[in-house]
Assembly symmetry: C2
Amino acid sequence: MDSKIFNLKAKLEVYKAMTNGGNFADCPVRDVIQGISGKWSSLLVMALAEKPYRFGELRRLVPDISQRMLTQTLYELQRDGYVHREVFPTKPPSVEYSLTDLGRSMFAPLQMLVQWAELNHDAVREARAAFDAAQP
Amino acid sequence: MDSKIFNLKAKLEVYKAMTNGGNFADCPVRDVIQGISGKWSSLLVMALAEKPYRFGELRRLVPDISQRMLTQTLYELQRDGYVHREVFPTKPPSVEYSLTDLGRSMFAPLQMLVQWAELNHDAVREARAAFDAAQP
DNA sequence: TAGTGCTGGTCTCTTTTTGAAACCACCATT
DNA sequence: AATGGTGGTTTCAAAAAGAGACCAGCACTA
């Protein structure tokens, strides 16, 4: 067997999970990761991890999200089971979004990544500045 | 230490980091997170965490990425300091991509998220199916 | 009673991002 | 002389995202 091809097939445990052992057409881990790797998903999960919020509150909390993307991202998070949506029959009706148990359990590893980002954003910004300065 | 209180404190710290103390729009942590939350970024970091790969190897490894997005994502990962790019003067010249120390340190928390996804993809798919079934 | 505002959205239009595919120069092999 | 592998760039179409108008329903106000 060609060693190059063999090396391509030899993958780490985590990478196997990510690639479903070479079957890219149906990879659950990639499917899940891509569901929370959108531009606004993780941010909204962070916000809702603190406490439930209503639609308008989230809109004011994240001022640079469009109303359209807020609706859509919350819909997707709800569909994937991370977020619970509850309508209260007030006048006018108010809608509260909160994390489900699944959402809270996903928040734990997400938190790791955010803490890493908090510790390393200086390094990233320095790398970015150095890279841009070295460009012709 | 009471684990509930500990978790609450951790949550609030992370929330503050993500929100820049209430200022969501201009937040360093968000800047870092959004740099790795692209569609292909995490997947390529996972691959390079195993071992360095050349451009063509990555292209074959991730068959559903376009050459254009592979170039662009690797460029961004390099710019943010996660990936090192080295050109070898072979004929034809070959280009090797590898994780930097920063990239490896980021891989650790990312791995947590992937492992969570591996453990919970059934729950997510069930939530999705239940949600779709409940739609009119 | 007509106007105004707040609720949580949808609809339409424009801009940005992504995908698909062709193209490139170089060199080795066939 | 044609073919294939190297690591890309370029071009054009499709998809996604952003900006802003619009909507129904009710409360409050003038």
